[in-house]
Amino acid sequence: MSAVESYLKPEVITQIKRLDLRAQFVVKGFLQGLHASPFQGFSVEFSEHRRYSYGDDPADIDWLVYAKTDKYYVKKFEAETNITGYIAMDLSKSMGFTYRQELTKFDYSICLAAALCYLMIHQQDPVGLVTFDEKIRHCLPPKSRRSQLSNVLSHLSQLKPDGQTDIAQSLGQLAAMLKQRSLIMVFSDFLTDSPPVFDSLRRLRHGGHDVILFHVLDESEVTFPFDGVVELQDPESEDTLVVEADGFRQGYAEQVSAFRDEYKSECQTIGVDYVPLDTSMQFDRALMEYLLSRRSRC
């Protein structure tokens, strides 16, 4: 594993304080790890030439190369369109939680969002930023200029998760706000009632938007690593509960799994990409999901 690739690990990326460098390392590590890239289609620039063969679209023939070499070469995967991306970041207090990881859910989401932002801007796709808790708090309009990256990262670095959340309302608000077809990347733990969220997602889809849900949970929220008797407290509602963790782990895991399955199933129905993550996972999974989604649209 190269030094850059190691930055795909959350515990390593925390050693880099600057968010832009974090984003850069994540993306570079990811791209380097791809080797022979199967994802040429996303690139807006020249990718490669190859000999024309029977069946290729003659429209793909690069005539300039023909003129120079007198041979038919096909110019592959030049990007045809740009897509406007929105990073929707959940600012609820629960996003600031981690049990034993280096990154909170919020930090993890920012790193990932920054990497995606970096990637998109380098593809000259315009990227905007939306933060929300009970409603949309901030909004950076999408731009594809290089300076947009520093704006987005600067804004993300100043955010602090706090307060209650209402994802459904916030996404509904976003849906109403967007005028053109966009790619909306939602970063949240979705620890709220799911039906309203699904309704809001349907509205987004109805508006012609592509949606990727990055469902970020803390590692402890997936594995329930506690022992003995613990008193659990919800940081948002401040409800408490004393439980005996050992006898509870299995049931909890089933609950989480059912929750994620519900989202997965519903998202599939709606046509939303669903990326379940936890803060112990490498960033490449999220990036891969994005790229797959991007490719499918090309």
């Binding site: 407290q233 940081p235 509602s237």
Partner: protein, 789 residues
């Protein structure tokens, strides 16, 4: 046991200071809330389980520190109860854990069944233990005891090993043991003497008694010593009663101990400790008691002495020396406490070789002695070189050399006495002075006026009818210790035999009639073990008695209590032929058919052909045996074993009435003649005992005393044999001080459970620790999670 109250401690702590669980931020609480109810029940159950473990932990610790123990007899049952209880506990915990973990119901049910079965087993064994009223649960190692230290101080314990006798070894251990017994204990020192066992006044007295232990040459049986010890410890005021038996575990010593001892010990609840001080592989060469052909021999004749030499141990060659004291009438004398005795003259010496053997092997040695001058001769047969056991390295014997025994023969004119006299004292021997007997014959004479005391025996050979006075005279002679041989034949009449009550009393029965028989009637042995028939014992059925028919005899009936039939007639097995009757102090041997019948008679048929038949060696042997028995009764025995009562004939008319007895240990005793006898009733030590009287110069008598052969047998008792005598678990066997300490502790306080209970406590502690650490995973009261900061 008050430590058990500590159980209250965890209860108080548990109830009053129940620890709050660790607070923990957790945004995904919504997933937890759905399982909340069942989990709360689990938490409470685990708390109670933890409480139970803590209570058990303290209870186990308190129980272990109280040092519980149980009688050996029920220790096994308690052990089962303990093991099953632990298993039940673990199964119960596993069952609860399984129930809480929502595993398969089959597993939970199986564990529950195991718990139930374990509880039933526990209850069964506890009821069984409670039903045994004779067992105690708790003992005390430091409580005063009533103890008897029993020593086998038989001669066998003088066996030397590593420079110490077995008795000295036993005394050393016993001294240590006595000092180790708890204060105020009552201690009795019991040995194999006849002394009564009592508790010593204090520890010093006990130590003195142990120091003064000596070899007892006439020991009582080990069984008797043990019974004596049991009797004395029963009188102890202390409930804990113990017997420490110091023994060499020799098979011979333990022969007397039977199963009753075991039952008595069990009944009286007396602990027995057998302390083995014997040599594990003893080596010894031993001489048996010499067997002397004739203790009394006449001038110019001789006798033969034979004895067995037994061996056990490594291969060895030893020299056996045969020595006899020279005659010196001036000795013995006691000079400054030292006994001066005549010098010993070596007559023979033989080498004897033994191969290595773990069991006892024997060889027989024979020594001949002759041409000794008249007098008492003390001699020794001794092993040169010495070995571990000295008491059997030398054996003593005494021979009397004197004039022939004089026999008075009373008969009729026409009765030939040669069949008798030639048989026991051939003419050639009489002419050369080698005959053992001399004869004085009275034919048809009156014996009433005759003094009979000087005769070794009186023999009536087919006498004529005797007057009542003569019968009375003979009866008086026998009553005073004389011996009489009666061979009645055709000269006697039934009227004469019936004239006085003296005759049946003297002869031992009533003569009923003259009995006629045929050629098929002959003599047959009745008492094969009688000394008269001892020469025939090795021949068994090969003696041709049937070749010597008895055609006529006197039939005797109504035998007295002291009469014994030695031979009977074959045709009428109820008719005695030869009988012995004890009359007063003397003996009468009566033969109911004559021994003086020639082969042919002109006027009548001979009554038998015993004396005149061809090849009549049975008659020769029989008549010699009868003569020897009659004369031996008159004479004194000269060779004894320790513990015997010695009786020596001493005619006051001929010999002094008072003698000085010189014992082998240089003690001097006065012995008086009572009714023509010298009696010595206490001969505790082997050796030559010398009697010295004065009557116109010194008169010497004496006898020899040897130890019992059983004391030479060092073969050891096997453990299994000891178990069968005492019961496998009814005693503790020890060989050294460590064994004794361990055994005493085991017996006094039984099986200790401390180590097992500590093990249980450790298991409980580990369980408690595991459960508590899982219960309170973090010792932090702060909220965890980044979101709290």
């Amino acid at each position: 046991m008050f430590g058990g109250l500590l159980i209250a401690l965890p209860l108080i702590i548990h109830m009053a200071m129940r620890r709050k669980p660790v607070p923990q931020l957790f945004p995904a609480l919504r997933f937890v809330q759905q399982k909340q109810v069942s989990n709360q029940r689990t938490v409470r159950m685990k708390q109670w389980l933890l409480l139970l473990l803590r209570c058990l932990l303290l209870a186990g610790l308190a129980l272990a520190l109280s040092g519980p123990s149980a009688d050996q007899a029920v220790a096994g049952n308690w052990m089962v109860v303990g093991v099953v209880s632990v298993a039940v506990l673990l199964a119960a915990i596993a069952c609860l854990a399984a129930a809480l973990s929502e595993v398969s119901r089959h597993i939970v049910i199986s564990l529950a069944v195991m718990v139930l079965l374990g509880l039933i087993t526990d209850i069964f064994f506890i009821i069984k233990i409670a039903g045994d009223q004779e067992t105690n649960l708790i003992g005390d190692v430091d409580a005063a005891v009533g103890a008897a230290l029993v020593f086998d101080n038989s001669p066998r314990m003088s066996y030397q090993q590593a420079g110490n006798s077995r008795l000295a070894e036993a005394a050393e251990i016993a001294s240590w043991l006595a000092s180790q017994l708890p204060e105020s204990s009552e201690i009795s020192v019991v040995d194999r003497s006849t002394r009564q066992a009592v508790f010593s006044a204090d520890l010093n007295s006990t130590m003195n008694a142990i120091e003064q232990l000596q070899i007892e040459h006439t020991p009582v049986s080990l069984d008797a010593s043990l019974r004596s010890a049991i009797s004395v410890v029963q009188t102890s005021e202390w409930s804990q009663r113990e017997i420490y038996l110091f023994t060499d575990l020799s098979r011979a010593a333990w022969e007397s101990v039977d199963h009753e001892i075991r039952e008595t010990l069990e009944t009286q609840q007396i602990e027995l400790f057998v302390i083995d001080v014997g040599a594990e592989q003893p080596a010894n060469v031993a001489l048996s008691t010499p067997e002397i052909q004739d203790e009394f021999i006449v001038d110019s004749s001789g006798t033969e002495i034979h004895l067995d030499v037994s061996h056990v141990g490594l291969a060895t060659t030893r020299t056996v020396e045969f020595v006899v004291e020279e005659v010196d009438l001036t000795l013995p004398v006691l000079t400054d406490g030292v006994l001066q005795t005549p010098a010993l003259k070596r007559l023979a010496q033989q080498d004897i070789t033994f191969d290595a053997s773990e069991s006892m092997t024997r060889q027989t040695l024979r020594f001949a002695v002759s041409d000794l001058p008249p007098g008492i001769h003390h001699g020794q047969i001794r092993l040169l070189g010495g070995d571990g056991l000295e008491i059997d390295d030398v054996k003593y014997f005494t021979i009397s050399v004197g004039r022939p025994s004089e026999i008075l023969v009373v008969t009729a004119d026409d009765v030939p006495t040669r069949y008798f006299t030639q048989a026991i004292a051939p003419q050639t021997d009489r002419q050369t002075g080698r005959a053992r007997f001399e004869f004085t014959t009275i034919r048809n004479g009156n014996i009433t006026e005759r003094g009979l005391e000087r005769f070794a025996t009186v023999v009536l050979i087919d006498p004529l009818p005797l007057p009542t006075e003569a019968w009375q005279h003979l009866a008086d002679y026998v009553e005073q210790g004389g011996s009489l041989g009666v061979f009645i034949g055709p000269n006697m009449t039934l009227e004469n035999l019936s004239q006085t009550e003296v005759i049946p009393a003297l002869l031992g029965g009533t003569i009923q009639r003259l009995w006629r028989s045929d050629e098929r009637n002959f003599l047959e042995p009745s008492a094969a073990d009688h000394p008269v028939l001892s020469d025939f014992s090795q021949l068994q059925g090969s003696v041709p008695w049937a070749q010597f028919p008895v055609l006529r005899y006197w039939q005797m009936e109504n035998l007295g209590e002291r009469a014994q039939t030695i031979m009977h007639f074959s045709r009428e097995t109820g008719h005695p032929a030869l009988l012995e009757n004890r009359h007063g102090e003397g003996t009468v041997m009566t033969m109911l058919t004559p021994i003086s019948e020639p082969l042919r008679l002109e006027n009548r048929t001979p009554w038998n052909q015993l004396a005149s038949g061809n090849d009549n060696w049975p008659y020769f042997l029989l008549i010699n045996s009868i003569a020897d028995t009659l004369v031996a009764n008159r004479e004194s025995k000269l060779n004894y074993q320790v513990g015997d009562v010695v009786t020596l004939r001493n005619d006051e008319a001929q010999f002094p009435a008072e003698y000085q007895l010189f014992t082998p240990t240089a003690d001097l005793q006065q012995v008086q003649t009572v009714e023509n006898r010298l009696q010595v009733s206490f001969i505790p030590t082997p050796g030559a005992y010398r009697l010295k009287g004065q009557q116109d110069g010194p008169v010497l008598k004496g006898f020899a005393v040897n130890s019992l052969e059983a004391f030479s047998d060092l073969q050891r008792l096997e453990q299994t044999q000891l178990d069968s005598k005492l019961g496998q678990d009814a005693y503790q066997l020890a060989r050294n001080q460590e064994d004794i300490s361990f055994g005493v502790r085991q017996r006094r306080i039984g099986q200790e459970f401390f180590s097992l209970l500590i093990l249980l406590v450790i298991v409980l502690f580990v369980l408690e620790h595991l459960m508590a650490s899982r219960f309170y995973a973090q010792d932090s009261t702060e909220l965890s999670g980044e979101g709290a900061s």
